[in-house]
């Protein structure tokens, strides 16, 4: 087995938060005595990532994704556990580590607001000690991939959100990092810009072999980029494996879509084959237990005969799988 680029062992982060009830009395009491509570943002997770992998890091808001990325980039000290990235302990923030790593947060800016990005790139070139020829080559590639030609000479504050995100990407990658942590890189962007950023990340990974750990609430990002996903919830690891197997592991059902002829979809009673979840434009969608799905599909073909125009058996959409995982967790937590 090759040496992992990212190795995390029992990583834990507990925050102590101050709580107070609403109202004047509670406010006055809080002056004297504060109620503090420990929150386990990350409750002991373990995983390893090999060189060149693009891994999706999934979980609902507050699951501990950003906290984990901050620990792995070196911004947070963990409460317990170990992590090594490129052989370094991230939170020691050694220059040799910082030079090979980037953390890009979709909702944060690291560029100087008042000057064109081209000048910020120069500053970053010097800070990261990027030789001139490498700088020109990298910047040229980033400019092509991200179509930055028109953008880098305008002050950053004059750029739109999508334009700014593109130059943020370039700024974060100017040192050609071997590891990139991307926290919601497409947040707030329109569909076409999301597609471009996705294409860029995939191409960047292909060209440079960089290892990428990515969080996103847009499942399209994950489907387009990640063959492997790590799912966390309440700070705990729920799943770590191929994206393709996530549905099999987490959703014990398949979706059968039957297209019927002559408007039969509106009236046909298909409840005997599975749970009918939708009927529209000649199509009926059924939810069927995974193990018996092939048999039910065969029965549908046999029994509907010429009334059946088309039939498909698929895994549920990844959004649905993820939503199911998290809502079941919530139910589990409540009971």
């Amino acid at each position: 087995m090759t040496e992992p680029i990212i190795e995390v062992q029992g990583l834990r982060k507990t925050f102590r938060v101050t709580e107070r009830q609403e109202g004047l009395a509670a406010t006055l009491r809080s002056f004297v005595r504060r109620h503090r509570r420990d929150v386990n943002a990350v409750a002991g997770i373990t995983f390893r990532i090999e060189a060149g992998e693009v891994v999706g890091f999934l979980g609902p808001n507050g699951a501990g994704k950003t906290t984990t990325l901050k620990m792995l980039s070196g911004l947070l000290y963990p409460t317990a556990g170990e992590a090594h990235v490129l052989g370094f302990v991230p939170w020691r923030r050694e220059n040799a580590y910082l030079q090979q790593m980037t953390l890009l947060m979709g909702n944060r800016t690291q560029l100087v607001w008042d000057i064109p990005a081209a000048d910020s790139f120069r500053v970053l070139q010097e800070i990261y000690r990027v030789p001139e020829h490498s700088f020109r080559k990298t910047l040229g590639e980033l400019t092509d991939l991200l179509e930055l030609q028109e953008l880098v000479h305008k002050p950053v504050r004059n750029l739109s959100l999508g334009e700014r995100m593109k130059v943020e990407f370039a700024a974060g990658l100017i040192q050609s990092p071997r590891v990139a942590f991307l926290d919601e890189p497409t947040i707030g962007l329109d569909i076409s810009m999301q597609v471009r950023i996705r294409g860029f990340v995939a191409e960047y990974n292909r060209r440079t072999g960089a290892t990428i750990l990515l969080t996103s609430h847009y499942m399209d990002d994950v489907v387009a980029l990640c063959r492997r996903v790590i799912v966390i919830h309440h700070g705990q690891l729920l799943y770590d494996g191929p994206l393709a197997d996530l549905a099999e592991r987490m959703a014990p059902y398949k979706i059968i879509t039957a297209t019927l002829r002559d408007g039969a979809a509106a009236t046909a009673d298909l409840a005997a084959y599975g749970t009918v979840t939708a009927r529209d434009e000649g199509r009926v969608t059924l939810k069927v237990e995974r193990q018996i799905a092939p048999e039910r599909a065969a029965r549908l073909v046999n029994e509907l005969g010429d009334n059946l125009a088309d039939i498909s058996v698929e895994d549920p959409p990844i959004e649905e799988v993820i939503d199911r995982v998290f809502s079941e967790e919530r139910v589990g937590a409540a009971t």
């Binding site: 925050f15 102590r16 901050k70 980039s73 070196g74 911004l75 947070l76 000290y77 939170w91 923030r93 220059n95 910082l98 030079q99 790593m101 980037t102 953390l103 944060r108 800016t109 690291q110 100087v112 008042d114 000057i115 064109p116 000048d119 910020s120 120069r122 500053v123 970053l124 070139q125 010097e126 800070i127 990261y128 002050p155």
Partner: protein
């Protein structure tokens, strides 16, 4: 490091050029307070037959002109910026670069001083002429003024960072820095030349670091102290710089640990 500073300077000068008018207004604002004190002391001196202690009207004029210049060269605003950076999450990207965040602030301070020094000198020339300022400084004083103002600026800068790092523990560093500024107002020589402070206050002022930031370089430039005394004061300035440098190393290390411990 020279290349890094050159790149930071270029960027900062460009950023500053976006705010030329604002810079000049801030500079004028920084002159108003000393001029008000100058006018007040001139009134007091005139009411007492032209003299307060060892200062006459023209000495006051020289002192406050020198103090305005030193304030411009030695004051820094890190504490205010720092609170903002922490609250808005701007410090985090800086912590993840292989360069200590203090270097950005050094460059910001120097560029601010560079962009305001020319209009400052014009305004101060006008004030000096209006109040007929009398400088008693010799060439030796002028030579000593250079290290003294550099040390004063270094001391104010380092002390400002030490105060600013309280933002790691409280997001309301503004209150701490305001308290610090009020103390500086009394003990740095802004309200009156250190030599004119009442006995106890003068002793306190000489023990505290504030006077070594502004008052001491101003008095050396004005020629209010003799050369041997000026040299002793410069040594004390250097000691204070050393103390605050060491203090900053400690509070920065502990502060960053705190910051990255509770949530960056």
């Amino acid at each position: 490091m020279i290349e890094i500073y050159r790149a930071l300077f270029v960027g900062q000068i460009q950023a500053a050029s976006q705010y030329r008018v604002q810079s000049v207004l801030w500079m004028l604002f920084s002159v108003i307070r000393p001029v008000i004190f100058l006018a007040a002391w001139v009134a007091v001196a005139n009411a007492q037959g032209g003299q307060v202690g060892s200062y006459d009207v023209r000495d006051f004029a020289a002192y406050y002109v020198a103090l305005s210049l030193v304030s411009n060269l030695a004051t820094s605003w890190n504490a205010y910026d720092f609170e903002f950076e922490i609250r808005m999450g701007r410090l985090s990207p800086k912590l993840l670069r292989p360069l200590h965040p203090i270097h950005y602030a050094v460059v910001e301070n120097i560029v601010w001083k560079m962009t305001t020094i020319i209009p400052m000198l014009i305004v101060l020339g006008f004030v000096a002429a209006t109040f007929d300022a009398r400088f008693r400084s010799t060439p030796a004083h002028l030579a000593l003024f250079v290290p003294s103002v550099v040390l004063g600026a270094s001391l104010a800068f380092l002390a400002g960072w030490v105060v600013a790092t309280t933002a790691f523990w409280t997001t309301r560093v503004h209150a701490v820095s305001t308290l610090w500024d009020r103390a500086a107002f009394i003990f740095a020589g802004q309200i009156a030349p250190l030599a004119l402070l009442p006995g106890a206050l003068q002793t306190i002022a000489l023990v505290l670091p504030f006077g070594y930031m502004l008052g001491v370089p101003a008095e050396i430039l004005q020629g209010a102290v003799d050369v041997p005394t000026a040299m002793v004061l410069i040594v004390v300035q250097a000691v204070w710089v050393g103390i605050f440098y060491a203090l900053l190393q400690v509070v920065w290390r502990v502060g960053v640990r705190q910051y990255t411990g509770v949530g960056a």
